[in-house]
């Protein structure tokens, strides 16, 4: 049987054409079929929800909002775009293809454009094949990665960065100083990198106390690097020394209130 990707479309209330909505829920033919999840504004889409959607086995996630510079909520679409950009970087860390996520713009009146966006994305996802997280046996490593990414996406560091990005880059901080986009991206990339690894470590030792060596091997990282993260995690009160086996200290996760 031909592979039919399961694609979730997060579509804003103001740009979803009636035809696509109907095709989604009834047997109307001739319009692209996509599993529509309506939201008032694509700005509503929490990165955690997108990751959850992938964890549940979606082969692709398509976010469609109003055309910038228009937006029913002035700039909710641009807020969404920033979140999706961040998410793509975060997802690529987990081993899942970031091409399974896309954001695009259309108006409710542009059924043709809608059709094109959906079909293009469907072809792209079909070429990638079924999601490693779908089916009977999801890829455990990638799933662990997505779970770690969910924690990161729900945590304040990245959310603060994404939330403040527009203001810092375009309007400047309280002193009126603007941050360059490149500079900001560097900070963002670095934060995604380190927070993701820390989250993985934290989740791993939550399951089973592990040594630095063991963690490094599991994650395919330099032990020095792992140790640095462990130091930070201990400072944050997320990790503690469990015991020492031979010469190796074994770490355990702490429950966070």
């Amino acid at each position: 049987m031909m592979f039919r990707p399961k694609i979730i479309g997060f579509i804003c209330n103001w740009s979803l054409p009636t035809e696509v909505d109907l095709a989604n829920t009834s047997r109307i033919h001739g319009y692209p079929k996509i599993r529509v999840v309506r939201v008032m504004c694509v700005g509503r889409i929490d990165p955690v929800i997108v990751l959850e959607t992938f964890a549940k086995g979606a082969d692709g996630v398509l976010v469609i909002g109003c055309h910038p510079p228009d937006c029913h909520y002035i700039e909710g679409n641009l807020q969404a775009e920033r979140k999706i950009e961040m998410l793509k970087k975060l997802i690529s860390q987990t081993g899942l293809e970031p091409e399974r996520l896309r954001v695009d713009w259309a108006y409710a009146s542009e059924v043709e454009r809608f059709t094109k966006i959906i079909n293009d994305f469907r072809n792209q996802v079909t070429a990638l094949g079924q999601s490693p997280l779908a089916g009977e046996k999801p890829d455990e490593n990638i799933l662990a990665g997505i779970m770690a990414a969910k924690v990161v996406a729900g945590d304040s560091r990245l959310r603060t960065l994404v939330g403040r990005e527009k203001k810092l880059v375009e309007e400047g901080d309280v002193y009126g100083e603007k941050v360059g986009q490149e500079e900001f991206d560097k900070v963002m990339d670095e934060s995604i990198d380190v927070e993701y690894v820390r989250s993985r470590i934290h989740l791993l030792v939550k399951d089973k106390p592990m040594s630095v060596e063991g963690l490094a091997k599991h994650l395919g990282l330099d032990p020095k690097n792992v140790l640095r993260h462990i130091v930070v995690l201990r400072q944050r009160g997320l990790l503690a020394l469990d015991r020492i086996e031979g010469e190796d200290p074994i770490y355990i996760a702490l429950e966070v209130m």
Binding site: I8, M40, G43, P47, I49, I74, A108, S109, R159
Partner: protein
Amino acid sequence: MTVVSCAFKNKRRLPPCRAACPADVNVQGYIALLQQGKFKESVELIRKSMPFPAICGRVCFSPCQDACSRKNIDQPVGIRYLKRLAADIEREQGRIKPDPIPKTHSEKVAIVGAGPAGLSAAYELVKLGYPVTVFERMPEPGGIMRYGIPDYRLQKFVVANEIAYIQDLGVEIKTGVEFGKDVQLDSLRNEGYEAIFIANGAQVSRKLGIPGEDLKGVFHAVEFLRHVSLGKTVDVGEKVAVIGGGNSAIDGACTSLRLGAKEVTILYRRSRNEMPALPHEIEAAKEEGVKFHFLVAPKQIIGEGGRIKLIECLRMELGEPDASGRRRPVPIQGTEHTYEVDTVIAGIGQLSETSCLPSILLDERARAISVDPLTLETKIPSVFAGGDIVTGPASIIEAIGAGKRAAVSIDRYLNGEDLRTGIEEEIEETIWVKDWEKITKKPERYTAPHVDIGRQKVSFEEADELLAKTKEVAMFEARRCLECGSCTECLEREELCEADKAVVDETLCTGCNVCAVVCPIGAIKKNEIGIAQVDEDMCKGCGTCSASCPERAITMRRFTDAQIVTNVIAALGREFA
């Protein structure tokens, strides 16, 4: 689609368009539905506030458009055209006949005059469950909409269709019944009508009051238009002079052209700027070839053999502003000049026919019925009046507003409630945009691909395509709306709705201010102890703050994260055909 579910049911912070509408039509709501291509739903929403979407879509003077905030950026949203299109699409595709509304009240209500005010009151009352009978003197209902506005502006079938809707709901209209002759206040009471609403309008033209007015060939605009509407032949000859600067004058001029007049001139005693007619009507008249002479007033009409031949006029100049705020025209002596004419149409205003009414109802000049402006009660209990008979010649939309207010009063009166409680409401205009610069500084908006809709003859397939394109253009036009009100109150959805509100968990909030930064409306501010506070009157329920809060301290009241995840799981599990 329950009304109660909307959090803003009784709120009166209205967007400018709705605040400007005398009939309180939810403009922003139906524009929002049109943005999504919901043409039928938008007509239904208009019908919640008044029964004449197609009529107002054609001839309303659209105060909503004048108030539209969009005018501060470029042009106001074409609200009237959108309303017309939505209503026309509904009619062309076949209006679904509504079921009659069950009569839950036994008290009968009589309405005098089937014009916009009378029919609106009947519409509101029948919706409340009252048995309503409308008495109309003319052979067809509609009043000024049927007999006063010429066909090229408002087709008769459009009026008939909208009145049929009111009749379908259960309003009885008795035509050919003249108040004061066939029925009286007393006779209506004896027939068991417990409340009476008088809305017989202003259907008599004001006289010129100059010599020669009785000559053959002198018409008065309202009567002239009524004659034409009734299908009677009117010979206007070749040269027509129309006196006056209002809509009736313009209508008289354009109708004369259609009756075969070669040269139609409008004589107006003030200048172009003071003309009370709608600007686009004036433009259209000009395009059709109507000539305008400003600052002239007729002095006398000179006839020959009982038939009109010349009209003698005086030049005017503008003096001090009068009570209407317009500059008063002052005649310049010795500037008499004449025009050769076959017909003169006087469109200098309308009066109400008050001779049929009991004198106790009338004001001291016996020109109108005097009422309590808030409740529309007359001096006789159980008798109410509204529309042009009270205000003097005004507009259709104002008459509709009066009809609605009368319906509220009559309902209260029949239920023995106080008529005044809570009637006077304060309406505050809101413009929710926190930062105008954000909108005005935006690069040019994404614009619709151009569609040329001409009046070519088309096949059925092409007509379909044309309709689709027209709809597309309309949806883009609707998108120009800035959505000034916090909630469109379209009452369309339950879970996914602008009446959704953000809620801050104060124990989790750290006061980081991210929500205030991302909120496009400025509905979130920190309080004195640094905790985020949502202004519920402002919040439009988009949820951007909830998706951005670093501490995940903000949730939506209805459309929670858990709800979205549930929807995602349901969507993933759905089998496609």
